[in-house]
């Protein structure tokens, strides 16, 4: 892999954001709204319940982690969608660019935009609601790593899906985090779920983050094996997503889909 082509993909996104407030605003606005909304809900729950649970840490913390994962995924897909929207596939892929360089460029963009979102969330959650985010200490690293890796995997997989099904399938991408959230136990323990949903949840890396987070906030420590399982699953998902994108790209080159990519290419 070469650095310049990877930088090109990330630089293009920077150029677009620099010149377009409509691209920057969603990075900040939605996470800010989420933190404010869930911050007040958490504060209210703290005043009306006597369960001993600190909802700011458990509920607002969970929202922050989930939004971070969502931003990573959307950062990757948004960079891909720029090529879809500007019908730029021939210009990009009729070049020496390797698929691995292209995907790395998308990931780099996802990292940058999600870190901006994370920073905004941290500032708001700490400043307005006193979220003791850093009380998780070094555990933050594996938590964020699992969510980050899984966000990349889903972003790449979603991009592969849109490459295969055409631009109109973009709407299928946006609900993916919402579809997954009941299974990973963002707001409740996996034990709450019926057996079949629990089984699905155990296959999804974020479930290990949220289980550990609740355990730590409740003063019960964390499961190292659980977090390692989460990291291993997320790495496996990345490999599967990269393989899927490459396979679909090859299909698109073989079938002519890439050369004729347009709104009418859904098949």
């Amino acid at each position: 892999m070469k650095l310049r082509p990877i930088a090109a993909i990330a630089l293009r996104q920077f150029y677009l954001m620099r010149s377009s407030p409509t691209r920057v605003l969603p990075m900040i606005a939605w996470v800010a709204i989420d933190i404010i909304l869930w911050g007040f809900i958490s504060r209210y729950l703290n005043t009306v319940t006597s369960s001993g649970i600190n909802f700011i840490s458990s509920l607002l913390g969970a929202v922050l982690f989930w939004d971070f994962f969502t931003r990573v995924m959307q950062g990757v897909t948004m960079a891909f969608f720029e090529d879809v929207w500007s019908r730029n596939f021939i210009n990009v892929f009729a070049t020496p660019l390797l698929i691995s360089e292209y995907l790395t460029g998308l990931v780099l963009t996802g990292v940058t935009t999600s870190l901006v979102g994370l920073l905004v969330m941290l500032v708001l959650a700490t400043w307005l609601f006193g979220l003791p985010f850093f009380s998780l200490g070094l555990l933050l690293l594996p938590f964020l790593l699992v969510l980050f890796l899984f966000g990349i995997a889903l972003g790449v997989l979603a991009s592969a899906m849109v490459l295969r099904l055409g631009p109109a399938s973009e709407w299928l991408v946006w609900p993916i985090p919402a579809l997954l959230s009941p299974f990973v136990g963002v707001f409740y323990p996996l034990s709450t779920l019926p057996a079949w949903m629990r089984a699905v949840g155990h296959l999804l890396p974020p479930s290990y983050v949220f289980e550990s987070m609740r355990s730590v906030v409740g003063g019960h420590g964390y499961s190292g094996n659980g977090l390692l399982t989460g990291i291993a699953l997320a790495l496996l998902d990345i490999l599967l997503a990269a393989w899927s994108f490459t396979a679909i790209y090859r299909y698109a080159v073989r079938s002519g889909l890439l050369a004729r990519y347009s709104a009418e290419s859904v098949s």
Partner: protein
């Protein structure tokens, strides 16, 4: 005598000799079909270093399919493509590093400025000292005053100049130009043709050029390939071909070639759907 039979010395579609000299592009036995439709039917051709080859044919003849295969965005069902001697199927990235293109159907992202587009593609092509190269191109294609203008709001002529500047950003050894002057006024088109010819002479870059402007083809191309229904019907010097085939001009020859395969088809059966 049919035009095809009169092709003469050149044998269209035949395999190139293995000892062919200094080819920027060699395509052997290229074939591509979509379901029952054969878009390109086993064609072979080459573009020598410094040579400008016109790829002519009516709509649907297989020109764009051929170009897409050479660009690596469409995989042939059969055949072999070599760019600067590098096999495209096996060494895609290395082969495409020597190539670039400009096509009317592949506009550059309109939400990037002229400079940003050139910067983006200079990085994609891993051009060393990209900033210097971009400044050269901005001067050469008279784009300096537009450098901070979004390419989506440029006039079609300005967009064409930008597309050509982008096509030369990596100083390619093979350039694919799909109707490069389609949106230009006669004066601008003449200027662009002169520049492209000069570049081919200066750098030895081979150029595959499609156009429906026969005057342009006669003026610019060293050799032409007539493509119809996925086959090369004829090839040769655009200035001598018309006379050799009893036509008064390249345009007349084009029209005859484009219509001849249709005329040769059997009439539809009575009562058949139109």
């Amino acid at each position: 005598m049919s035009v095809q039979a009169a092709a003469g010395a050149a044998i269209p579609g035949a395999a190139l000799p293995s000892a062919a000299p200094d080819y920027a592009l060699r395509a052997d036995g290229l074939r591509k079909s979509y379901a029952a439709t054969v878009a390109v039917d086993g064609i072979s051709f080459g573009v020598r270093a410094g040579e400008i080859v016109g790829l002519l044919g009516p709509n649907g003849a297989g020109k764009t399919t051929t170009i897409n295969m050479v660009l690596g965005v469409l995989q042939p069902d059969a055949g072999d493509i070599r760019i600067e001697g590098i096999e495209l199927a096996r060494h895609r990235s290395q082969a495409l590093a020597h190539t670039n293109f400009s096509a009317v159907y592949a506009a550059l992202p309109g939400n990037l400025t002229v400079y940003q587009n050139l910067r983006f593609f200079s990085l994609i092509y891993d051009v060393p000292a990209g900033s210097n190269r971009i400044e050269q191109l901005l001067d050469e294609f008279d784009l300096q005053r537009l450098r901070n203008t979004r390419s989506g709001v440029l006039s079609s002529g300005e967009q064409t100049r930008l597309a050509l500047a982008k096509a030369m950003v990596n100083q390619p050894r093979l350039l694919l130009l799909d109707e490069p002057t389609a949106s230009l006024d006669p004066s601008a088109a003449d200027l662009i043709r002169s520049r492209i010819r000069a570049m081919a002479l200066r750098t030895g870059c081979g150029i595959l050029w499609t156009s429906h402007n026969m005057y342009e083809v006669e003026e610019t191309c060293d050799r032409v390939l007539f493509l119809s229904r996925g086959k090369i019907l004829l090839e040769g010097d655009p200035r001598s071909l018309p006379r050799a085939h009893g036509a008064s001009s390249l345009e007349e020859l084009f029209i005859r070639l484009a219509r001849e395969p249709l005329a040769a088809e059997p009439p539809a059966a009575p009562g058949a759907a139109p």
